[in-house]
């Protein structure tokens, strides 16, 4: 009788158990990166020089990931250019083209009067590391090289100012 009880109890516990394999994947978008060290990759700029996020350590950086085919990026670019001029000396703006040729990125920037540095990340290293779930994606990096905020989607100049305000307010 005891044996029967043991077997029945075990089968009952088995029935309560949910067996299928679970699958999970990394992600969470750029907003999940706040507080983490900002990853940096050495890539070529449209002017031919090498550059990376790490080379701007000690400055507040607004990293903007974009591509020429991206309509919201196109709409955001004038505001980004105004912001870069307005914040010159306080915030560095780095535009990082994702996956395209330097010639395409350079022509696009010239046509739109972009004066801030454009980096050409043809291996899309920044895009995947900063968990971009679309373009444009912007990341604010503080003077210590940590991500302050990750933003998915197009921003207005007011939103850009607000995004860097906390990093600017922090003591040098």
């Amino acid at each position: 009788m005891r044996l029967v009880l043991v077997i029945v109890s075990t089968l009952f516990l088995s029935a309560c158990y949910n067996a299928p394999d679970a699958a999970a994947s990394g992600g969470g978008g750029p907003s999940a990166l706040a507080g983490s060290p900002a990853q940096s990759f050495e890539v070529r700029r449209t002017d031919g020089r090498m550059d990376s996020l790490a080379r701007h350590r000690g400055q507040i950086v607004l990293v903007n990931l974009w591509a020429t085919w991206c309509t919201p990026c196109r709409e955001e670019m004038p505001a980004l250019q105004r912001f870069a001029r307005e914040q010159a000396g306080k915030v560095v703006v780095l535009g990082i083209d994702q996956g395209e040729s330097a010639s395409a990125a350079a022509a696009y920037a010239k046509e739109r009067g972009v004066t801030f540095p454009i980096l050409v990340d043809d291996q899309q290293q920044y895009g995947r590391t900063y968990a971009a779930i679309g373009l444009p994606t912007s990341v604010i990096v503080d003077r210590s090289g940590h991500v302050v905020q990750g933003i998915d989607g197009q921003m207005t100049i007011e939103q850009m100012r607000a995004a860097v305000a906390r990093a600017l307010a922090a003591r040098k």
């Binding site: 077997i7 075990t10 158990y17 990394g26 992600g27 991206c70 994702q98 996956g99």
Partner: protein
């Protein structure tokens, strides 16, 4: 067959079944009711023999085997608890260069960056970082027991995709349906059945050209089967079958892309590098100290019973 031989045989099988959880963790058997039933029956047999031996039914040898029965029962209970109450096996497929939190382990998994060469060599690794603990660099084929979880890497097919247009201008590769939108590494999280074959499937897009490309991964063996159905022949290398379609779903081309070769499809020049990239698997496992103690007790009981009396 005597009751003693039967009990020892059952004890050995029960221990082997539980050790298999650590040795072959990917097997889904351990969370099934059949596995639980087998261990429960083993416990019942061990209990029945031990009860009789305690009363002297099997003489001095039988009594001396009581520690062995206790050891085997300990192992069986640990295996039963792990199989019944432990979490399901979880597979975490992280894109190269990304971080995935793993609350169950109180850790974060750092998936190593991988370029085309690393994918071809299967050189991807995963590092687990935990608060106040040394980081653990996991290599394929190695297993680590963390508390009551067994963590290990499984190598899965992967492809590094490099796309340019007809003039050679590099194009952005996106994966709109995957967690990592801007990764040029395909991890083939889906599968597609083609006749009797089931092959890994992934999709990427080139938004600049408004094209979506489906990629089916064929091993050389699968390709040989596919070849019999009239597909172009290959040289024994894995390959992707790429099919491009525009935004409206109109087909724009189909081609076979062997690893390392550049092919044209839908007005794109696609260079694929095939290889592997690891996923992180976390399986429930009985605590090592319980297994060691149980097996030690089992062996000690066996040795004691073999001594002359």
């Amino acid at each position: 067959m005597t009751a003693r031989v039967a009990a020892l045989g059952v004890a050995a099988i029960a221990i082997a079944l539980v050790l298999a959880q650590d040795l072959y963790p990917a097997t889904p058997l351990y969370h099934t009711w059949q596995y639980a039933l087998a261990l429960t029956l083993a416990l019942a047999v061990l209990g029945a023999y031990a009860n009789g031996a305690r009363r002297g039914d099997d003489g001095v040898r039988g009594r001396r085997l009581l520690p062995a029965m206790a050891g085997a029962a300990t192992v069986a209970v640990a295996g039963l608890a792990s199989g019944l109450l432990g979490p399901d096996t979880t597979v975490i497929a992280g894109t190269p260069g990304t971080v995935a939190p793993i609350p169950a382990l109180g850790a974060a998994a750092f998936f190593s960056a991988a370029d085309a060469d690393a994918i071809a060599r299967g050189a991807g690794t995963v590092t687990l970082r935990r608060r106040n603990a040394a980081e653990i660099a996991l290599q394929p084929a190695a297993r680590r027991l963390l508390g009551e979880s067994l963590v290990y890497l499984e190598l899965r097919p992967a492809a590094y995709v490099d796309v340019s247009d007809a003039r050679g201008a590099h194009l952005t590769v996106t994966q709109p349906t995957n967690a990592s939108f801007l990764s040029p590494v395909l991890l083939f999280g889906a599968r597609q059945r083609i006749g009797a074959l089931e092959v890994p499937l992934d999709t990427f897009a080139t938004p600049a050209r408004h094209l979506t490309v489906r990629a089916l991964y064929f091993t050389p063996q699968a390709l040989a089967q596919f070849n019999r159905a009239g597909a172009p022949a290959d040289q024994g290398r894995p390959a992707l079958v790429l099919s491009a379609a525009d935004d409206r779903g109109n087909p724009k081309g189909l081609t076979l892309a062997p690893s390392g070769a550049e092919v044209a499809v839908g007005g794109l020049r696609v260079h694929v590098t095939l290889g592997t990239y690891p996923v992180l698997a976390i399986a429930a496992a009985p605590p090592a100290w319980v297994l060691i103690a149980g097996i030690a007790l089992f062996l000690a009981g066996l040795a004691w019973s073999a001594l002359p009396h």
